[in-house]
């Protein structure tokens, strides 16, 4: 799709920027990457009233063009880089009307870059309620920019905003806000001359930020550094002077255009909620209660939809076998692909519910309070209050969580957070745990309300948090700090969650899971099916010949004969040989060669374990009976002892292995992307594998 005009959305965090983005683009959006950097680039298309098409780019929320974190640094790069393909023709800057002063700082910076701007004044209702009156005409006249009052949540003013975007001028007409040149007159002049930059604020920003701007050549960057030396430019002092000048401008502007009624000091809603939610005792009680509720709900609410999906696949497998002629292809489809897929697809409900909870916690502003409450505790173990968000996000998936560590300004805090986040029980482990818990933990209610299986799962989640904290504590003494840590964070007012946003997140995440996991599962299932259905040399023929001898055909029932043949074939297949090869290494953990196959296939993605189990036990089992994976594994017998293959000791040892092992190719890749150094993912992989093996070993040896 080609757009006629490119529009960037810029604004502070918590101003409703994403809500406006959704309102403008609807479901017509996609997530990509900015060229050269790994920050998510959300773009979408919007039809303007004049028939043109606008591409809308949602830039990360920031308080200023001076980045404090990796995420924020993208904003100036996109706005300033002349070579960037994402460079916008127009900036829509969204301001929170109830909090104009701080919001206007970013406006004055963007305006001085002389890119055409339109102001969207959001949350007018909130401002009115707190006694703020804004003279919008005077405000627009003073700045000389179009100002559109909107309510992104209530979808008010969106059409006017689209109208304004389509009428917007190609040239920037806004008034200068401060006298930029006076901040560093000679330096700005010389940079302007040598780099052919006519905008003084752009030149000043180059002086401040040249070190991490990727669109400058090393020579250009060195030259700017030289000029700074010559003119004795002090970045922090210049920035301080600029900020003060900007706030002077803002104060004058607000004095003329905004009146605030001095309301009798009535405590705001938000404050009253905070009194309870960040209370010394109740604060933590409520936090843990919310987590408990979340995990119980994941189990309880997903039970029915999971059963539905499961029976759908059982029906599909049966139908395929009935309709298609029996043969290797049918078997591949039913026993390979469908069995593998069903093992994973049943977890869609749980993943959707988990992401819904996380998005509600973020949306309401509660996550910021958790950060506030936990900071001191987290600092003790070498983390940061802001590490709580990636850690809780880690319950969903380590990949976006590791990307979200970009909001942590301090290098050491960020590295430790990245190193321990994959220990947190992610949604890919959920299928493995659910299956194993269902196998060995009785479905029973204890102490009146708690489901024993739910408790076991909660235990696994708690264990993962504890292990993350212990590892962080150790790393705190190993890593050396590079810069001083600080913690300056806005506590946004409490809001109702935007339900359509929650629904959109659920849909997005479930879709991403189905597509990503689905691709891997299908290919792994096919490979696995081939490996399990064929063997080296003529072993399979020998087995067939062996069982044609009368001593078997006469004494055994046809059913039993088939089962023996299938079982012996699996053991002699490529997969079986592979499993047998690693068996000596995993026997101390209590695993046989079949589990060994699953360990190998789930090496790149944990959730494959379930699919593999399904495939292995389909090939192994009675071809006429189609059971769910759980039943198949329940019936599984150890080929040597004849005892059930999945005892409590084996299942717990497996759960420990999956709790600590780094079986996720995507996480390894994202850790490399975020750290730009192979030693980080390598170290992470090594420590996690050692932990996984030792703890699984101890668990099995103690319990067996």
């Amino acid at each position: 799709m080609k757009a006629d005009i490119r529009v960037a959305l810029v604004g502070n965090p918590n101003t409703g920027k994403s809500t406006l983005f959704n309102a403008l683009t609807g479901l017509n959006q996609k997530i990509g990457n900015f060229p050269g950097v790994t920050v998510d680039k959300k773009t979408g298309f919007c039809d303007l009233p004049d028939g043109r098409k606008a591409e809308i780019i949602d830039l990360p929320g920031t308080y200023s063009l001076y980045p404090k974190s990796k995420d924020e640094s993208i904003v100036f790069s996109v706005l300033a880089d002349q070579t960037n393909t994402a460079r916008p023709d127009l900036v829509v800057i969204i301001l929170d009307a109830s909090n104009l002063k701080r919001n206007l700082l970013l406006y004055t910076q963007v305006a001085d870059l002389k890119i055409p701007v339109v102001v969207a004044l959001n949350m007018m209702d909130l401002a009115t309620r707190s006694g703020i009156t804004i003279d919008i005409d005077a405000f627009a006249k003073k700045l000389n920019v179009p100002v559109v009052p909107i309510s992104a949540r209530k979808l008010q003013g969106i059409d006017q905003l689209k109208q304004t975007i389509s009428y917007a001028n190609k040239l920037s007409l806004q008034e200068d806000t401060i006298d930029v040149r006076s901040l560093a007159p000679q330096l700005i002049a010389q940079i302007g001359e040598e780099m052919r930059v006519d905008n003084p604020y752009y030149a000043l920003q180059l002086a401040h930020q040249h070190e991490h701007l990727t669109f400058l050549t090393p020579q250009q960057s060195d030259r700017i550094e030289e000029l700074e030396q010559v003119h004795a430019f002090h970045s922090q002092k210049a920035q301080a002077a600029e900020t003060i000048a900007r706030y002077n401008f803002i104060n004058d502007l607000l004095y003329d255009t905004v009146t605030k009624k001095e309301t009798a000091h009535e405590e705001s809603w938000s404050n009253r909620i905070d009194k309870v939610l960040t209370h010394k005792v109740f604060g933590f009680v409520i936090f843990f209660a919310i987590l408990m509720f979340m995990f119980q709900a994941i189990f309880a609410w997903s039970a029915y939809p999971m059963e539905l999906i499961e029976s759908l696949f059982v029906w599909l497998e049966a139908t395929v076998k009935n309709i298609l002629p029996a043969g290797p292809l049918t078997s591949l489809l039913a026993d390979g692909i469908l069995a593998g897929l069903s093992g994973v697809m049943v977890f869609i409900p749980q993943i959707a519910i988990l992401f819904a909870f996380i998005s509600i916690l973020e949306d309401t502003g509660y996550m910021a309070r958790v950060t506030f409450m936990m900071d001191k505790l987290m600092r003790k173990v070498g983390l940061n209050g802001k590490s709580v968000v990636p850690l809780i996000g880690g319950f969903a998936c380590a990949v976006p969580s590791i990307m979200s560590t970009r909001t942590i300004e301090n290098w050491k805090d960020r590295m430790i957070t990245i190193m321990v986040t994959p220990l947190v029980t992610c949604s890919a482990r959920l299928p493995v745990y659910t299956l194993l818990i269902a196998l060995v933990v009785p479905h029973r209610t204890v102490w009146g309300v708690f489901n024993l299986q739910g408790l076991a799962l909660t235990g696994m989640y708690l264990l993962s948090l504890v292990s993350a904290i212990v590892v962080a504590f150790v790393l705190k003494y190993i890593l050396k700090a590079r810069d001083r840590g600080y913690f300056i964070m806005e506590l946004p007012v409490y809001r109702m969650p935007r339900w359509n946003n929650v629904a959109l997140t659920m849909y997005d995440r479930a879709k991403a899971f189905v597509i990503q996991a689905g691709k891997i599962i299908i290919s792994v299932s096919i490979i696995l099916w081939v490996l399990a259905s064929y063997g080296p040399g003529n072993r399979f023929e020998q087995i067939d010949q062996k069982y044609q001898q009368p001593q078997y055909t006469k004494t055994l029932k046809p059913d039993e004969l088939d089962r023996r043949i299938a079982s012996e074939k699996l053991e002699n297949s490529y997969a079986g040989v592979l499993g047998h090869t690693i068996e000596p290494a995993i026997r101390p953990l209590g695993y046989d060669w079949k589990i060994g196959i699953a360990l190998i296939t789930s090496f790149f993605a944990r959730e494959v374990f379930v699919g593999t189990m399904a495939t292995i036990y389909s090939v192994d089992g009675d071809a006429d009976r189609i059971d769910s994976v759980e039943q198949k594994m329940h019936n599984a017998r150890n080929s040597e002892t004849g005892q059930p293959a999945f005892t409590l000791a084996v299942a717990l040892s497996l759960m420990m292995f999956y709790a600590f092992a780094m079986q996720c190719a995507s996480t390894v890749a994202v850790v490399y992307r975020e750290t730009k150094d192979w030693r980080w993912p390598a170290a992470q992989f090594a420590y996690m594998t050692v932990l996984a093996y030792s703890i699984a070993f101890i668990t099995y040896q103690v319990l067996k």
Partner: protein
Amino acid sequence: MKLSQLKVGKKGIVKGFTDLEMSVKLMEMGCLPGEEVTVERVAPLGDPIAINVSGYQLSLRKREASTIILL
């Protein structure tokens, strides 16, 4: 007096900073000389604190608050 010494519920006016690096970050967030600040609450474990400044709530650690001098 430093902001870190201000009791919960009390107001003060920012006079200046003792640390340039911190001051740049705080001023961007609307916490600059002449602004009125109110200590709203202290985190359950005694640190960080939440203050009201420029019409919104900002949380910062006591160490950072101690770089803010009040009138």
